[in-house]
């Protein structure tokens, strides 16, 4: 197989890499996906297969392209783990680019040595991956059938995605409040935290009992998905008890946390 500059595969490869790099510069996630998928999932595998001079039947060909590309990606991540910067987008992309360049160069060298012993030097063309074993049809019915089927498939899948995500979001959304108290390191500070996961702004009554000092009660209002924190400094042994009234119903009507100060 001879790699020529005008080869479609090389053009697509270069264009995809250019698009991916531009997407990274512009921080455009959509374009990262569009250009990144062939860069990561297709081209490494295609290059590996050409280098190995393997020309299996289409199904095996595409399966090997997939696993070979995955293997290159896994290898890139493993190598980037060994670098000082670790596994980052930059390190993975650098290694992937290096591997791609090495594969292209290896293909070029291998194809030149193969072409010397071959009468004809076919090029790497994308069509070799699209060999079809069915006869083409010029009838309109299949075209219309495929168009209708495509519409049905798209509608069904979008419907399934919407239904699933909407129903799971509705049933799995939290509708409660979290109360916690954590001792801050070795200090005398205890942090009380109220996290409102009720889904709406909620008013609470926070009752705090301290050793010797006694009990205080305050009303707090916390917006949905927001956090209220209060630091308490305690320098006497005993118990700190914090009770939170309000929010979703509980078994005993309140939430309670307790710390024991030795």
């Amino acid at each position: 197989m001879l790699i020529r500059p005008g080869n479609l595969l090389l053009l697509l490869l270069a264009a995809s890499w250019a698009g991916l790099l531009a997407a990274f510069l512009l921080q455009a996630t959509t374009f990262k996906i569009i250009f990144g998928l062939p860069v990561v999932l297709v081209f490494p595998g295609v290059l590996v297969l050409h280098l190995l001079n393997l020309h299996p039947k289409p199904l095996e060909r595409w399966a090997l392209v997939g696993v070979a590309s995955l293997a290159v990606l896994i290898g890139s991540v493993m190598v980037s783990s060994l670098t000082s910067s670790g596994i980052t987008s930059n390190s993975i992309l650098r290694i992937l680019a290096s591997v791609t360049i090495i594969l292209c160069a290896s293909n070029f060298i291998a194809s030149r040595s193969r072409s010397r012993s071959m009468a004809e030097s076919p090029t790497i063309r994308i069509e070799t991956f699209l060999r079809r074993d069915s006869e083409s049809s010029t009838h309109w019915r299949p075209v219309i059938a495929w168009c209708i089927s495509g519409g049905v498939i798209a509608a069904s899948l979008f419907g399934a995605i919407w239904l699933s995500t909407a129903s799971e979001r509705a049933t799995s959304a939290p509708d409660f409040t979290q109360l916690s108290m954590i001792h801050q390191g070795d200090s005398k500070v205890y942090r009380i935290t109220v996290i409102n996961l009720e889904g709406s702004e909620t008013k609470y009554q926070l009752e705090i009992s301290l050793p010797v000092t006694g009990t205080t009660l305050q009303t707090i209002t916390v917006e949905a998905q927001h956090t209220y924190q209060k630091d308490i400094v305690v320098d006497r042994p005993g118990e700190i008890v914090a009770r939170l009234y309000g929010g979703s119903a509980t078994g005993n009507g309140y939430r309670q946390v307790k710390a024991v100060i030795p």
Partner: protein
């Protein structure tokens, strides 16, 4: 590969035996060689509608609609019917056959995704997600994983997901779904390629691939974000390379591909790598003793040797814990055969009657078919086929024995079935070809009947268990249904507010989540009694100190619900397993509030976290 296996012939007027004259179509229409042009688009559309029906059933189940199961089974049967009819009708078209198998697999995978589209929900997946989160946090491989310590040592799966996350900019969850979906589809493609190489008939190969895809672990378990799911396509395609070499394609490219796949396999999953090495050794021995394949022996031996060397090198240098990790369940498995017969009810514990019928049928039908093929081919002196069918029968019997005799037989048998099915599916496909040649006119109906038993039985004997087959309301100490907003939010709080690796004790469901998403250490030992007594007891203190338990995660729903109907347990190693007359007494959980010295760090109204350091549990002298 099977030189005596019947090939499709134009004329069937010779005196060949029925097994050898399987040119009779399996399809319903003997004279049709190409389906109508609209056939495939209609089939694809029907598959998409089937997925929509199942997704609708899931949504209805979340709303507790009583008709959800009926809709679910309608969707599943439509999916089955579409794939099976396409394979039976379009037997001459390789593209159509491949499309039918791949579209079925893709639809099967989407069904799993729609079960829980917003986050991973299966406990096994959470263990690997924890490894991926650790890699993202540390930016290096081999982060700690308290729930499944072996997982980071086989980083193939998580490296792929993290790679996608870094390059594509998608969320980790979407990348995990992408990796799992690719693995699932590549496995089906690889299986079809392998079966084509071995069976040499496209329609039977496609039937064999469908039989494999109907297996109990294919629908959900091999669709999960777990390391075996990614390792299996590496293994299957490795076998494809070796079979191709055996059949004369002795190219350096095939050899290098095989060795590369071995290397990928070794860094992805231990058991699959070991299984592949064993299979390669068997193939090497087979090739050495068969004159037709002797020329390829050195090539296959090189592949086998490379596989073993890679495995030994990885286990010896990076994943030394593999030996202890695998030896423990292996010893448990061996010892459980000493109490054989104690688990006769295990495979179908808690299943409704109709489910049990299909579960047992999905075990009995393949055995019967393979035995039938063995006998018929032996009588007709087709030794190659008889050997294949006989060995497949023996393997299937071994899996059945594991299922019934081992204490955790259902899980072990399911995992073994994953590998064994690659072999038995070939035998079953050939048997279906035999059935077609013997029954002729009635063949399609019989074949559809057999496949439907395998398909439904694969669902009833597979994952999730019957009570979780459709997503529903929270169930304490269960698998997927125990992972709700309380469990997830509590674990996220623990991850953000506690140091990693604190030793937690809890019920089975919450323990799975706190040990993964919470990045804490889940203690898996017998401590259930702590949660059952109504007051402090020094014996419970001994348990806490023995296991160095630092925190208790107490879910008040232990007092409201009975344990799940398959395990009858609230905890791993539950002292009252199978004997719960009532849910846990409220006083048994309330005591933790009242015992002096116990801190309560967290309360969301349903779940509390108690710290035991400084309490009588941690210090017996108090």
């Amino acid at each position: 590969m099977l030189s005596k296996f019947p090939r499709t012939r134009a004329n069937t007027t010779n005196s060949a035996t029925p097994l050898e004259s399987q040119s009779r179509p399996v399809s319903a229409h003997s004279g049709v060689t190409q389906p109508p042009a609209i056939f495939l688009p209609v089939a694809f559309g029907a598959s998409a509608i089937a997925v929509l029906l199942i997704a609708t059933a899931y949504a209805a189940a979340r709303d507790q609609a009583g008709w959800a199961p009926y809709l679910y089974w309608t969707g599943e049967l439509l999916l089955f019917a579409t794939a099976t009819i396409v394979v039976l009708v379009a037997r001459k078209s390789a593209t159509t056959l491949a499309s039918a198998v791949l579209v079925f697999n893709l639809a099967q995978y989407l069904v799993k995704v729609f079960y829980s589209p917003l986050r991973l929900k299966f406990p096994d997946e959470l263990q690997h997600e924890q490894s991926a989160l650790g890699i993202l946090a540390t930016r290096h491989l081999f982060p700690p994983n308290y729930s499944l310590p072996i997982s980071p040592l086989y980083p193939g799966l998580e490296a792929a997901a993290v790679g996608f996350e870094n390059v594509l900019g998608l969320s980790l969850h979407v990348c995990e779904l992408l990796v799992a979906g690719l693995a699932h589809t590549l496995l089906a493609a690889g299986a079809l390629v392998l079966f084509r190489l071995v069976i040499k008939r496209g329609d039977l190969a496609a039937l064999g691939a469908l039989v494999y895809c109907f297996g109990s672990y294919q629908a959900f378990y091999n669709s999960m974000f777990i390391y075996q799911a990614l390792a299996l396509p590496f293994a299957v395609l490795l076998f494809v390379q070796v079979v191709a070499i055996l059949q004369g394609e002795r190219q350096v490219g095939r050899l290098v591909t095989a060795m590369s796949l071995s290397a990928c396999l070794v860094i992805t999953h231990h058991v699959t790598a070991l299984f592949a090495s064993i299979v390669l050794v068997i193939i090497t021995i087979f090739a050495a003793f068969r004159p037709a394949y002797r020329a390829s022996t050195k090539w296959v031996a090189a592949t086998a040797l490379a596989s073993i060397v890679f495995l030994v090198a990885w286990v010896g240098s990076v994943a030394r814990e593999t030996l202890s990790y695998l030896s423990e369940p292996f010893q448990e498995f061996l010892s459980s055969f000493n109490s054989a017969g104690s688990n006769l009810a295990a495979p179908v514990t808690g299943q409704p009657f109709i489910d049990r019928v299909f579960t047992y049928s999905s075990i009995a039908v393949p055995l019967a078919l393979l035995s039938f093929l063995t006998i018929v081919s032996w009588r007709r002196k087709q030794i190659g086929i008889a050997t294949l069918a006989g060995s497949a029968t023996a393997l299937q019997l071994a899996v059945v024995a594991i299922r019934f005799a081992a204490s955790n037989g259902q899980e072990l048998a399911g995992r073994a079935q994953n590998f064994v099915s690659l072999y038995t599916a070939i035998g079953l496909a050939m048997c279906l070809g035999l059935v077609a040649s013997l029954l002729q006119r009635n063949a399609p109906a019989i074949i559809i009947g057999i496949l439907s038993v395998l398909f439904v039985g694969g669902i009833t004997s597979g994952w999730p268990p019957e009570y979780e087959r459709l997503p529903g309301s929270y169930r304490i100490a269960a698998f997927e249904s125990a992972i709700d907003s309380h469990a997830v939010a509590t674990s996220e709080w623990a991850r953000n507010n506690l140091s990693p690796g604190n030793r937690f004790a809890s019920d089975f469901g919450n323990l799975a989540v706190i040990g993964t998403l919470g990045n804490q250490f889940p203690v898996n030992s017998p401590y259930s009694i702590i949660f059952y007594r109504n007051s402090f007891d020094p014996r419970d203190a001994a348990v806490v100190q023995r296991d160095d338990i630092q925190f208790l995660l107490v879910d008040t729903r232990l007092t409201e619900q009975y344990p799940p109907p398959d395990s009858y347990s609230y905890f791993i190693d539950d002292s009252l397993a199978g004997r719960h007359q009532t849910p846990v007494a409220p006083g048994a959980l309330r005591k933790f509030r009242d015992i002096g010295g116990i801190t309560c760090l967290f309360d969301d109204g349903t779940v509390q976290i108690y710290g035991l350091r400084g309490s009588p549990y941690a210090d017996s002298t108090r």
